[in-house]
Symmetry: C2
Subunit: 350 residues, 2 copies
């Protein structure tokens, strides 16, 4: 059975009110604010039913009510109205998109800090992960007679480099031979395809530069391995302390530690996306829906960006459970849409 229209309007009003003021909301306020023209008593009856249905909870008997996780869930799924981006918000995002930096990392950072400022929540960005990643191209050259630089371009467009000290001196032609060798042996192979015996064979061909080949090959392995789970950037950390629900330093520290640790949020995000496989768009993960303890009073809004070839990155915005889902979703959605278009145009022209 679905809720009566009036119950829905009341619930929405309560969530809106609570999101704004962070204080349990009572029947009187709802009666006054919502254009329902009924008395507080009626609202009270409805509220008590909404509580029975699990959408509201009471912090203590003589206080107003606050939305439960289920209440927020209904709110984000059906009740909340589209937040209209202000001109300045849209403009800021457009600006960030226009800057057209071709480095994925930098763009993500830039956007993270932008959204944190716009919304007052903490942002994290996940680089895409997946085991289908492979090396697209190797390059090796000399920085000086004793130092080689190896550069790796992965299939998803990631760039990584490493400085390697040579045991025995080499000249340019030797080094470019090594680069060729690497390109023939190791390109277009996923991590699982790079076996020890392959490395052995390749380095055998390299003569006195065998150690260099081995080292670069294992560097490639590292890079591919690290892309498996992706990397995390955080921004707007100090926003956490702005919200009254994190007034308690213990609570704040718990969340902060969890977020800066990166492992937890990484696992959690993967988990969320593996079970909620609804198509693109904005998703939410609210309060007790989160299995990780530090997030059980928090809310997360997710968006995904697409790098082709099944590679997906995630942007997440973390706040208290009582966060302004509508506003955050609108901002994130606006950015993600533009970002995905940009990515399609500039990264993958195949």
């Amino acid at each position: 059975m679905s809720l009566s229209d009036r119950k829905r309007r009341i619930l929405k009003a309560i969530v809106d009110e609570y999101i704004e003021n962070a204080e349990p909301v009572g029947s009187k306020i709802i009666a006054a604010r919502s254009r329902l023209d009924v008395s507080p008593a009626t609202i009270r009856n409805e509220m008590s039913e909404l509580e029975e249905l699990g959408y509201l909870e009471q912090p203590h008997i003589s206080a107003g009510r606050i939305p439960s996780t289920a209440g927020y869930r209904l709110y984000v799924n059906e009740l909340m109205q589209n937040y209209a981006l202000s001109v300045s918000e849209a403009e800021a995002i457009n600006m960030a998109l226009r800057t057209q930096m071709l480095e994925l990392e930098k763009m993500l950072r830039e956007f993270g800090s932008l959204v944190s400022r716009l919304t007052n929540y903490t942002t994290y960005t996940l680089m895409p992960g997946g085991s289908s990643e492979s090396v697209k191209k190797f390059d090796v050259f000399l920085a000086d007679s004793q130092t080689a630089i190896a550069v790796i371009v992965t299939s998803s467009g990631l760039l990584k480099n490493k400085r390697i000290k040579l045991c025995s001196p080499a000249d340019d032609s030797e080094i470019s031979a090594v680069a060729n060798l690497l390109n023939t042996y190791f390109t277009n192979r996923t991590l699982d395809d790079i076996s020890l015996s392959l490395i052995k064979r390749a380095s055998f061909e390299a003569g006195h530069l065998a150690p260099l080949v081995t080292e670069i090959a294992s560097f490639a392995g590292e890079v591919l391995d690290s892309t498996r789970e992706g990397d995390v950037y955080l921004d707007g950390i100090s926003s956490i302390l702005r919200h009254p629900e994190y007034r308690d330093p213990e609570k704040a520290q718990e969340l902060l530690t969890y977020l800066t640790d990166k492992k937890g949020i990484l696992r959690h995000t993967h988990e969320h996306f593996s079970q909620d496989s609804s198509p693109g768009g904005i998703r939410f993960s609210i309060g007790t829906e989160n299995s990780d303890e530090p997030l059980r009073d928090a809310g997360i809004v997710y968006g995904t960006y697409d790098l082709g070839k099944n590679l997906q990155g995630v942007i997440g915005i973390v706040g208290p459970r009582r966060m302004d889902y509508a506003k955050v979703a609108a901002n994130l959605n606006y950015f993600i849409t533009g970002f995905n278009k940009l990515l399609k145009d500039s990264f993958f022209n195949e």
Copy 2:
């Protein structure tokens, strides 16, 4: 006039005690703990004189005393005894050093997180800055027919790369010609030496790949520009909330915002090093000695690492004013010493 030996011992005892317990210390405790064999009354007299001299302050009349900034200063300069690293501390640092990562950035991050864990304070690392930086070597190669990758090695050993989309297709030989061109025109030049007319001349020679040359040249400019002030990494942010002086969320947020903003801490560090030009080693900057408001209740312990050619990086450890200077200094010093040795061996073999 310098302080009597007894006053110094009392002051030291007070600082030690306060560092450990974060509570104003009274005469009784000092009489009991310090091996001075005098009565609390005597201590009281001494304390009241120490207060008059500006080394102690009283939070309120009926409480014990806490060290003032001047008190801490005297403590770190003359009183504190060497903290002996525990075996596990030394071992952890050795381990980090042995990992021998040749990427400066990664090493710094690794150490930052290590020290944060060891000491429970927040760590930041500054990449070296200076306007004497130049490009040591360019490399350009094709990732695919429409995308070029440019790699820059700077004189201090920094590695940066960028993906560049081509307007017109090019083949390998054309690209390596571009690389040669860049190397002849732009290597060993500081930012100030790279003029617009130089860029114009170089790109003129590049024919239809002129846009590529211009873009890489300006990328080089960006890189050199960014090395001017260096980059900041933070670690152990959540430690801030562990200390009772930051129980107040407002205070914590102030410091957190200041630190994550990076501009402030960067400027502050430069400022500190420009006026305190004592030779290497560990330095301190305590409480009100800091001109920036958010740091006036904080303490910082600095160490510098050396990249040759007047390039210096800084590692800073931030905590409450009542931080364990001895312990932090010992850890930092141990690391810095080893790190500098390592840097000398592996980065600069000229």
